[in-house]
């Protein structure tokens, strides 16, 4: 992003390396100021919000300025000090739905060159049976050397891989090169400067959008796969061919006034699709609520064709009104499931779940959030899963997140937009096929330490459980593993793994695994500590936060607790800071982003005056 004509963006390259789901992406850009005066050049990229920035550097006049990860509060003090002195130019943070924006700018002297290098790392999550790598590229002008390269190493073997981009035209399509062998894939895309142009000699570039790689790995062993490197191990568990468990699900739908219009319409659309997709052996119930709570039927119904069609007719008539009593609605759903279970109306081997959809804070009945959380926790008593869907930007997402986590579930944000109904369906697809409950992965106590979470309340079809830890014995030959879970058939597998010889598996690339397994372990540990820092007793939260901060600093990750400080060459006390947004900040940014994006040609006016 530069002053076109005097500043030439010489190169932009993206190098993404994946080693067993752990992806490290390095974005490099070089620009030259060919003008007679100094120019400001900015480097602006977007990265997935699940990623942590781990490095950033600028090279100017052969001098390299490297970012340093610092505790957020300390970085902020430094930043504030510079701001008050009027000497700084950049705060680095912004966000989108799936991505976060990183941008810095720096003044470059005449006839000088600057090279920006940014690295981010993330653990790819398996969703609906595949991993997805998203690389967003938005150069303002054609670039002399433009290249996206991805090398994927998966010791389990790659079962399929697909690469496409939102900006690919028929002319560009053949430029995506894909080489796949059993355990390794190489994908590259490198259009020439002419191929990037919208038309010969016209300005602008067609390269603007997402380059997306999707793949999955082979799953030969039911016990999963264990990989050991440099004293750390990681266990990937996603058995295939398990019979899904029938589920008993109560949909709790907010119909308060704020759901009016598009949100209510999208909810109805999504519910119709979700009802269509229910398995015949599932039971379901529907509760709608505002200040009052009404249920479709007093108990759950089997998903027969007739029942589904009656439920659809009911859903089509849900209309908005009134305020929001979340407490009463969720407790009613719990009561319905408990009563049906006690009356033996539900299959013994089945899973109970509540899916709550709301777009706002509780405003009537019990409105104290900690009390609602306690009421729900006590009522559920660990016997069912609660999933919270937060619709739009006025929802207290933290409240839903904590309440869902406390009840073996998870929360998801549904963004207001044309595709909201699809987002609702997508979430349902993810959680609609439970395979196992109470999954326990056990390793020998004397051989492992610093283990990440090894107990999971459920495993869904198409997802994956990952556990990592440190080995106390580097020369481990036989690593015993046990996995237990409750499913249609109870799952119990015991086996042994050995460390593979990477130089045999990847004779030309045996060095590649290096610190990846350790960093995967660190990433996973930090993510789980950040989650723990939101629930539980105050001292446990503080403890988890402190540990997450320590590890973020140790592994140089920009997490919500740290910032990366880059000292600009102009002055020692004018740093630039890369931050990681918290979910709450992301919500705020979304809110503002929406307003900015949808800003009509006549801007809104807000005024105060008198008659």
């Amino acid at each position: 992003n530069a002053d076109v004509g005097t500043v030439e963006v010489h190169s932009f390259t993206v190098d993404c390396a994946v080693r067993s789901r752990f992806a490290r992406t390095i974005m490099t850009s070089t620009a030259i100021n060919k003008g007679n005066a100094a120019r400001e050049i900015s480097f602006e990229v977007e990265l997935p919000k699940t990623a942590f920035i781990s490095n950033f550097s600028m090279e100017i006049e052969e001098q390299v300025y490297v970012g340093q990860v610092k505790e957020k509060e300390k970085a902020k003090q430094q930043y504030d000090k510079a701001v008050s002195a009027g000497k700084t130019a950049g705060l680095v943070k912004a966000s989108g739905r799936k991505m976060e924006k990183f941008s810095v700018s720096v003044n470059i002297a005449s006839n000088s060159k600057v090279t920006f290098v940014m690295t981010y790392e993330e653990l790819l999550q398996r969703t609906l049976g595949q991993y997805e790598i998203v690389i967003r590229v938005k150069p303002k002008e054609p670039v002399q050397e433009f290249k996206i390269v991805s090398n994927i190493f998966e010791p389990q073997g790659i079962s399929y891989i697909d690469a496409h981009a939102t900006f690919l035209t028929n002319d560009l399509l053949p430029l995506v090169e894909k080489t796949v062998t059993d355990k390794k894939a190489h994908i590259s895309f490198s259009p020439t400067i002419e191929q990037q142009r919208k038309c010969p000699d016209c300005p602008g570039t067609i390269i603007d959008g997402d380059f997306i790689i999707k793949y999955d790995v082979n799953r030969d062993k039911n016990l999963g796969d264990i990989q050991i490197a440099n004293g750390y191990f990681v266990h990937f568990f996603a058995p295939k061919d398990l019979t899904r468990l029938p589920k008993n699900v109560v949909f709790v739908i907010d119909r308060s006034g704020s759901m009016s219009g598009t949100k209510m319409q999208q909810t109805r659309e999504a519910m119709i699709k979700i009802l269509e997709d229910l398995h015949p052996e599932d039971h379901f119930g529907i509760i709608k609520f505002d200040s009052s709570v009404d249920s479709w039927r007093n108990s759950l119904s089997l998903a027969t064709e007739e029942n589904i069609s009656e439920a659809m007719a009911y859903v089509k008539k849900i209309a908005h009104r009134g305020s929001t009593n979340i407490n009463a609605a969720v407790l009613k759903a719990v009561d319905m499931l408990v009563t049906d279970r006690e009356a033996k109306r539900l299959p013994e081997k089945s899973i109970d779940m509540i899916i709550l959809l709301t777009d706002g804070d509780p405003t009537t009945g019990e409105t104290r959030i900690p009390v609602i959380q306690e009421n729900v926790r006590n009522a559920i008593g660990g016997n069912m899963s609660l999933y919270g869907l937060g619709f739009g930007n006025d929802v207290d997402y933290g409240f839903l997140d904590v309440m869902s986590r406390e009840n073996k579930g998870l929360a998801r944000r549904i963004y207001t937009g044309a595709d909201a109904a699809l987002q609702l369906q997508g979430f349902y697809d993810e959680v609609s096929s439970p395979l196992l409950l109470d999954v326990d992965l056990r390793y020998p106590d004397n051989a492992v330490e610093s283990l990440t979470t090894n107990h999971f309340s459920q495993l869904f079809n198409g997802s994956e459980i990952i556990v990592a830890g440190r080995l106390t014995d580097n020369d481990i030959d036989n690593f015993p593993v046990e996995v237990y879970g409750q499913g249609f058939e109870d799952f119990s597998e015991i086996g042994q793994f050995s460390a593979v010889d990477w130089s045999v598996m990847y004779p030309e690339d045996d060095y590649i695994f290096g610190d990846f397994t350790e960093r995967l372990w660190a990433y996973l540990t930090i993510q789980q500590l950040l989650e723990k820092s939101k629930t539980g007793a105050a001292d446990e939260k503080a403890n988890a936060t402190a540990k997450a901060l320590d590890m973020s600093l140790q592994y140089s990750f920009v997490t919500p607790l740290t910032s990366m400080v880059v000292t600009k060459p102009e002055a020692d006390d004018s740093p630039m800071i890369a931050d990681k947004l918290t979910e709450e900040q992301r919500q705020q940014a979304e809110r503002s982003g929406g307003v900015s994006y949808y800003r009509p040609s006549t801007p809104p006016t807000y005024f105060v005056d008198g008659d």
């Binding site: 706002g360 929406g594 949808y598 800003r599 009509p600």
Partner: protein
């Protein structure tokens, strides 16, 4: 003072009044991220009008931009700008303009002051001059935000909270106390409010008569549409 939230993309507007004791200072905009603070002080009529209702108006605004190091005081008599240890005083009676690295101002004699604070906000303050010997009324000011999209999502205050947009739905239109002003039910921020169709005046193009803008009027000092209540926005000083 009457507050107006014009929403051209909805072809609609919301309005409400906020009144309190003369002398009260309200926070209108506060954005800790970009460092903006706008406070305004109200004044009452010279004496109690025949209908017994004391109307209040803004007559002094304090505008601070911490990060740019800019401070402005605008009252019905003059404008003071503090920047980098420098103090500049402008009189409403003298047209002038000021172009600096962080702030641009254009003053139209006895009428308006347009202010642009670098990379943050653009607003205009209107001066309503009232006949000096008017038995009840006196000069007052209006504050119009023209561009706030660069402010952060943390922006709040009586006006600032609406910079992020607002979702509402109006239904159940029914006859009101006055036939031309029907009542309706508004669903906003999870609440159900009784609102009345009315209009308020936008004086930007015609400072004397204003233009009527139809709007949904929210009663009781904006209760339900503003976060908290009006007293939550009272501050102790102009800066």
């Amino acid at each position: 003072p009457h507050f107006m939230i014009e929403l051209p993309d909805k072809n609609d507007a919301l309005c409400f009044n906020i009144n309190d004791k003369p002398g009260t200072i309200f926070n209108l905009v506060r954005d800790p991220v970009s460092g903006i603070l706008v406070n305004g002080q109200i004044i009452g009529d010279k004496k109690i009008p025949p209908d017994g209702v004391i109307n209040t108006y803004f007559y002094r605004f304090g505008i601070t931009h911490w990060t740019l190091g800019v401070r402005l005081e605008v009252n019905t008599e003059f404008i003071t700008v503090y920047q980098g240890g420098e103090r500049i005083k402008l009189l409403w009676s003298a047209p002038s303009s000021l172009k600096g690295p962080n702030v641009d101002m254009v003053l139209t004699k006895d009428r308006s002051l347009m202010v642009t604070l670098k990379d943050s906000v653009k607003f205009v303050i209107l001066l309503h001059k009232v006949w000096e010997k008017h038995p009840y009324h006196r000069d007052y000011l209006g504050f119009y935000t023209l561009d706030s999209h660069l402010l952060s999502p943390s922006a709040h205050g009586l006006l600032g909270q609406f910079y992020h947009g607002i979702e509402y739905e109006v239904s159940d239109l029914r006859p009101g106390e006055v036939p031309e002003r029907p009542d309706a039910t508004m669903f906003v921020k999870g609440q159900q409010l009784n609102v009345t169709r009315g209009w308020q005046r936008d004086f930007r193009n015609d400072v004397k008569n204003g233009e009527n803008v139809p709007c949904w009027f929210i009663h009781n000092n904006g209760t339900g549409i503003i976060d908290g209540d009006a007293s939550d926005y009272i501050v102790s000083g102009l800066f």
